[in-house]
């Protein structure tokens, strides 16, 4: 086996085994910090030994054994009095390897602990990417444009709070489950969106590493909770969005609007998978949640036929009933413009309390442009450009503004 193959095998094992490893170690040693360090040490040892000794027959088992030894070493090294409890646990926890179902459950516990509502949203995102996703602190810091030391502190503080306040390591009870699952999904959606619409003047407009990681973790949660409609909905929404990833940004780094995208460059496989998920949810007959409705809207947008706007509006009506937020109403108005014209849509948009949101001004600008109100449109584009944080979006808005008819020169 070549060195490159061994490196690929280590990367694959890292993807597949990291969360399981941290979860098992956390359960056994009752401490996230020990679990994280021991898992990282086990992979560092693998990177040293595997290229020399070759791959072990069962990399997952090798990693578990190695990481467990590392954790025990670490605890012995520290050898503090308050570790007596852990020592005691080590002595009698010689259970045979657990069946797969139970191990899956361990990963789920890990996810719920990392996404606990007593932690801030930023902390939940960072902790989930570190403990479940296996990203390094440096990678997470880079993803969110924060200094590595600051990100390290945030994660350390979170681990300390989990321990001191005793945030439990378990799957929430049935009565709390749906609220807690939606908390987990919010974390994953935030990671995905940061990848899809990356912010920052020096950032790539698309961060495939983040969208891919969000999809991978959502797939994991779907495998662990196959009956949850919103998990399926979020996965479908991500897949249908990701399918249009390459068509969304032009060669010159400019955002391409949906109606101008080259449909031939969409990823048919992702779209087929997303559509199948949406169809399965519709067939379930259960009332859909927010992510399922958003997925259904994206399914209409990615249909082979031209977009059926009346269907899109019907779905937005359903969404407004669940979530009457101004952003949902703004998106509904964009669909209304396609069916009832820009004048009706503009009346819907006017007065929405979204002064600080670039898409609000961009929508107004586009509707005013279509109504031939160039002066007002230009002013709205200016406001949108000032607020937009994504480089591709800014480039698109500037071109649209500069193309306005009857511009002052």
């Amino acid at each position: 086996m070549s060195l490159i193959d061994v490196r690929a095998a280590i990367a694959q094992a890292h993807h597949e085994e990291w969360a399981r490893l941290v979860a098992i170690l956390t359960k056994r040693f009752g401490d996230l910090d020990t679990a994280e360090e021991a898992a990282a040490e086990a992979f560092a040892t693998a990177a040293e030994l595997w290229p020399v000794d070759g791959l072990p027959p069962n990399p997952g088992a090798w990693l578990t054994t190695t990481a467990t030894r590392k954790a025990i070493d670490r605890i012995r090294r520290e050898n503090k009095r308050d570790d007596k409890q852990k020592e005691a646990r080590m002595l009698y926890d010689d259970d045979p390897p657990e069946p797969v179902g139970v191990i899956d459950d361990e990963r789920l516990r890990l996810i719920f602990t990392c996404c606990h509502p007593a932690l801030t949203m930023h902390t939940r995102v960072a902790l989930t990417l570190r403990m479940v996703g296996g990203l390094t602190v440096a990678e997470i810091a880079r993803a969110f444009l924060v200094a590595e030391t600051a990100m390290g502190r945030r994660i350390t503080r979170a681990k300390a709070k989990i321990k001191a306040a005793r945030i439990p390591y378990r799957v929430p009870s049935a009565e709390d489950l749906s609220v807690r699952v939606s908390g987990v999904l919010a974390v994953l959606f935030l990671v995905f969106n940061e990848g899809y619409l990356a912010t920052g003047p020096d950032t790539d407009p698309l961060r495939h590493d983040l969208t891919a990681e969000a999809i991978r973790l959502t797939r994991l949660i779907r495998a662990l909770m196959p009956d949850d409609g919103e998990v399926a909905g979020l996965l479908a929404l991500m897949l249908l969005t990701e399918a249009r990833r390459t068509a969304r940004i032009s060669a010159s780094g400019e955002l391409v609007a949906l109606d101008e995208q080259d449909r031939g460059s969409w990823d048919r496989e992702l779209i087929a998978e997303g559509h199948a998920l949406v169809r399965a949810r519709l067939a379930s007959g259960q009332a859909p949640g927010r992510y399922q409705i958003l997925a259904a809207i994206n399914a209409v947008h990615t249909d082979v036929r031209d977009t059926d706007w009346s269907q899109v509006i019907a779905l937005y009506d359903q969404l407004v009933r669940l979530d009457p937020s101004p952003i949902v109403r703004l998106n509904r108005a964009i669909a209304i413009a396609e069916l009832d014209g820009p004048e009706v849509a503009l009346a819907e948009v006017d007065g929405l309390p979204l002064e600080d949101y670039h898409a609000f001004h961009a929508t107004q600008a586009d509707l005013l442009r279509r109504l031939g109100r160039s002066e007002e449109s230009r002013a709205a584009y200016d406001r949108a450009i000032a607020l937009a944080g994504n480089t591709a979006e800014t480039a698109y808005l500037i071109r649209r503004r500069d193309q306005l008819a009857g511009t002052r020169t």
């Binding site: 509502p117 007593a118 001191a164 306040a165 005793r166 945030i167 439990p168 709390d176």
Partner: protein, 107 residues
């Protein structure tokens, strides 16, 4: 595991009779289910006195150690197996006294 549940408010008003009744029901439940350790309401921050005896002699200052818009008006100390249980109880306590609450673990 014990948690301090601090009741935070911006006025020194006593609880209304309705709130008083709801707090009694909540306290009874804490006792019946084995969560109860201790609880009490506090006098106004204006009536506090700060003492610092780290130096040569004790320095006494009239008033609270920190002047703030919101302050501690009472507390519970509860016994709970983990933060989820503590947060659930705290949410009920907040509802009963109709005030904001902070949950903090003891060491």
């Amino acid at each position: 595991m014990q948690y301090l549940i601090s009741v935070i408010h911006n006025k020194t008003d006593l609880a209304s009779p309705d709130q008083e009744a709801a707090i009694d029901v909540f306290n009874d439940r804490l006792q019946a289910e084995g969560h109860w350790v201790f609880a009490g309401g506090l006098g106004a921050p204006d009536n506090a006195t700060v003492i610092d005896n780290r130096g040569e002699e004790a320095v006494v200052t009239d008033g609270p150690f920190l002047e703030s818009k919101e302050f501690l008006v009472g507390f519970w100390i509860i016994e709970a197996p983990d933060l989820d249980v503590a947060l659930k109880l705290a949410a009920e306590g907040s509802k009963a006294c109709n005030r904001k609450i902070e949950v903090r673990p003891f060491l």
